[in-house]
């Protein structure tokens, strides 16, 4: 079996921690976000990743669950964990006076989960029985669980491997002095080490998207290449994706839904991945026998639209981009984790910049990125739209009612 885990134990490794400090002297609170990124989405690690995402944040080897609850009681907000296929993020909101304790807590909860006492085995059983709705599934299609149960040390081994490969990334924003967070984390984590883990074979398989889903609904998706925010052409790509997919004035809505009546839910989203924000154009349809042709209809509709985008769509895209980046919006579509998009929330800028940091990009503030989009030319916008659709991949996940 190619994907077999080679049970080669390696020794303990020092913790690698990177810190992004975003001083904001006017802020009333300190936002601390701790990230664990995946270097690859391996089939053999999928189950463990779901368990890790569900159980991190409960406790750590330094902080018991009661202490975490007590911390939440003092600040009014419990640490919050959100996840996506490529990363998880733990968010802590702290008063300025308690930032040191809060940074230590966030780092510990992500880097030192206590697998012996966080009841992950019970949570695993629950996760196996849980079902997403068709939209959530479309966004993050999960394969069926691969075995009856995870090996006892599987979550901890995968967690350690990810920490060793990508390290722990901490993003802090608020009334803090530049350099102090790094200093504090160096002090707190000096003795921390990554426990032993099982190495994976270099031939291990990357996760393939499932071909079927347990609903009477099928998903048709066109996926563009990841947009590397701030790099050449990214502004035009971003606007093109808005024009094609975001809002009720978007091509996909106007053609696939309003003109052709092919679907109720059609939507474009920006999906966060380690390579950048992936533009995805989704159509959900009632499953039927001869449905593959609707994939062709989706491609044809978007190709036709992309080649005819003009100044009206260009203007709408610019205005809509600012809305979905900066403000509460009914068509919020720039996802900052697996379930929540930017929504004009207080710490959205920290989430955005933290993600860019994890994608290996300069941490451009949201407001500046939004302004940058005004510099995109109509020609570049049109070319980007045509190229986005031409190079997009199509994927169909067929629904089988009653499969579950």
């Amino acid at each position: 079996m190619i994907s077999a885990i080679l049970a080669i134990a390696i020794g303990q490794y020092p913790m690698k921690i990177s810190v992004l400090e975003l001083p904001d002297p006017g802020a009333e609170t300190v936002a601390i976000h701790a990230y664990l990124w995946r270097d690859q989405n391996l089939t053999q690690e999928e189950d463990a990743w779901r368990v890790i995402c569900d159980t991190i944040g409960i406790n750590s080897t330094t902080y018991a669950a009661d202490e975490v609850s007590f911390f939440g009681g003092t600040t009014g907000v419990l640490p919050r964990v959100v996840s996506a296929p490529d990363f998880l993020r733990l968010e802590v909101v702290s008063t300025p006076e308690k930032w040191r304790e809060s940074v230590a807590l966030a780092a510990s909860l992500v880097a030192q989960p206590n697998w012996r006492s966080n009841q992950w085995e019970e949570r695993e059983k629950v996760l196996r029985g849980s079902v997403d709705d068709p939209w959530k599934f479309a966004l993050w299609p999960k394969r069926p669980w691969s075995s009856e149960a995870l090996q006892v040390d599987e979550p901890s081994s995968v967690h350690s491997r990810l920490l060793d490969k990508g390290g722990l990334r901490i993003v802090v924003s608020g009334p803090i002095e530049q350099g102090l967070v790094k200093e504090e984390l160096d002090r707190v984590t000096r003795t921390w080490a990554i426990p032993e883990y099982r190495k994976v074979s270099r031939f291990a398989e990357e996760t393939a998207a499932p071909e079927r889903q347990p609903y009477g609904v099928s998903t048709f998706e066109m996926t563009g290449r990841p947009i590397r925010i701030g790099e050449n052409g990214s502004g035009a790509q971003f606007l093109a994706a808005i024009a094609l997919g975001v809002g009720k004035g978007a091509s996909i809505w106007q053609t696939v839904r309003e003109r052709d009546g092919l679907a109720y839910r059609v939507e474009g989203v920006f999906w966060p991945s380690r390579s950048g924000f992936v533009p995805r154009f989704l159509m959900l349809r009632k499953s039927e026998e001869a449905e593959l042709k609707f994939g062709g209809d989706l491609i044809a509709a978007l190709k036709e639209s992309a080649s005819s985008l003009d100044v009206v769509e260009f203007s709408r895209a610019k205005v809509m981009a600012e809305q979905v980046l900066m403000h509460p919006n009914a068509f919020a579509s720039v996802y900052v984790d697996g379930e929540s998009p930017l929504f004009g929330l207080p710490h959205d800028d920290v989430r955005w910049r933290g993600l860019l940091n994890g994608m290996g990009l300069p941490s451009l503030p949201l407001a500046r990125w939004s302004e940058t989009l005004n510099e995109v030319s109509l020609d570049d916008f049109r070319s980007a739209a045509v190229e986005m659709v031409d190079r997009a991949e199509i994927r169909i996940t067929r629904g089988y009612s009653g499969l579950d």
Binding site: P134, K248, R259, L284, K286, H327, A330, F331
Partner: protein, 382 residues
């Protein structure tokens, strides 16, 4: 002209940056200015009482919502989105909602867009056919709990409240003329409320809004609270997957509503696999506790007086989270405030948070008993 409009106001209260009015044609509005935010929300709510019982064909209001939201020239969305606004619409048991959100720089257009929604509906057979195809697709996305919720609404009230989604076959029989008549009834002035929140001048916005609402078809609406039937010991079967229990909540202005919700949400937290469904309202409506697997209801029996204080703390926290979620300024936020103008105008929404915090152990215990013995049991057949 402006003086004339001002003279029409029957009730006008200006509390600093808040203006609340009821117009002679029965429409009501409230404007809350939030200087410096740069954002705007305008929520128009058309009470279901305008078209009671969907005019006899379940789903008529839902179909009308789809059609009306496009605007008279069918370009409303594109016009709004080109200037930084967007429109979303949805239908509830209490009424039909249209919410415009976006930049306050476009407050004039946002208010004027309501005029577009209030115009007499024009629709032809071709457009209707496409919309029915879209509705058929929407039916595939209905959540598993929906048949249980529909049943609870139907069985717990007198007269029963029909499905919001509706009956596709029945809707397919509706003619353009019937729909145009239905739209006129639904959007008549007597059933309309509007809530505006944003970076606007409240007085100027009030004048504009008054003018726009005066363009609505004049009409009167008969509002009557829902009559509740007994739920204790009731058992129903539902063509669906899973199992559910339903209790009646009297409205958000009653502490026991939050207690029942808090308990259900606490159970959901403690026993994963449950969903809690509730349409925030100041009128009576069911709260549904649904389990897709059909399992887990035994958990309701686990909690006794000895462990009550811990359970009650969790239930309070869950109620508080729910209330805080409603504060997120999305479309649901605006709609809750718009419907409050008609259902419980005097109630102060800010009280919800203190009500949730102040729920007593006795109230939580009583709500738990409601879920145990007082609930209607709904059994899925699949």
């Amino acid at each position: 002209m402006l003086g004339f409009i001002c003279g029409l106001a029957l009730i006008a209260q200006a509390e600093g940056s808040v203006v609340q009015k009821e117009l002679p044609n029965g429409a009501k509005f409230r404007i809350e200015a939030t200087p410096g935010t740069g954002t705007l929300m305008v929520a128009l709510y058309a009470s279901e009482a305008g078209l009671p019982n969907d005019g006899g064909v379940p789903g008529t209001r839902h179909l009308l919502e789809h059609l009306i939201a496009k605007g008279g020239d069918r370009l409303l969305d594109t016009k709004l989105e080109s200037v930084g606004l967007s429109l979303t619409a949805f239908t509830e048991r209490d009424g039909t909602a249209f919410v415009v959100m976006g930049s306050s720089r476009q407050s004039v257009l946002a208010i004027e867009s309501l005029r577009d929604l209030l115009e007499p509906l024009r629709v032809d057979g071709g457009e209707l056919e496409v919309e029915l195809k879209i509705l058929e697709q929407e039916s595939a996305l209905r959540a598993d709990y929906e048949p249980f919720l529909d049943r609870a609404w139907l069985e717990l009230f007198e007269p029963g409240v029909g499905s919001v989604f509706g009956d596709l076959k029945g809707m397919a029989q509706l003619t353009p003329d019937q729909l145009m008549g239905g739209a006129e009834a639904l959007m008549n002035s007597g059933g309309l409320t509007v809530y505006v929140r944003g970076d606007v001048d409240a007085d100027v916005t009030a004048l504009r809004l008054t003018e726009v609402l005066n363009s609505a078809t004049r009409g009167q609406v008969n509002f009557a609270p829902r009559e509740v039937l007994e739920s204790i010991g009731r058992k129903e079967t539902v063509a669906g997957k899973g199992r559910a229990r339903a209790v009646v909540a009297a409205g958000l202005d009653r502490p026991m509503t939050l207690a029942r919700l808090g308990v259900a949400l606490a159970i959901m937290r403690l026993e994963p696999g449950f969903e809690v469904v509730y349409e925030p309202s100041f009128d009576r409506g069911p709260v549904l506790l649904y389990s897709r697997s059909g399992e887990g209801f035994g958990a309701l029996e686990k909690y006794d007086q000895a462990g009550l204080s811990r359970f009650a703390a969790l239930a309070r926290l869950q109620a508080l989270r729910l209330v805080n979620g409603w504060k997120l300024e999305g479309p649901r936020f605006g709609v809750l405030r718009a419907k409050k103008l008609r259902q419980a105008a005097a109630f102060n929404l800010d009280q919800l948070e203190s009500t949730a915090r102040g729920l007593t152990d006795d109230e939580i215990w009583s709500a738990l008993q409601d879920w145990r013995g007082g609930a209607m049991h709904l059994e899925g057949t699949r």
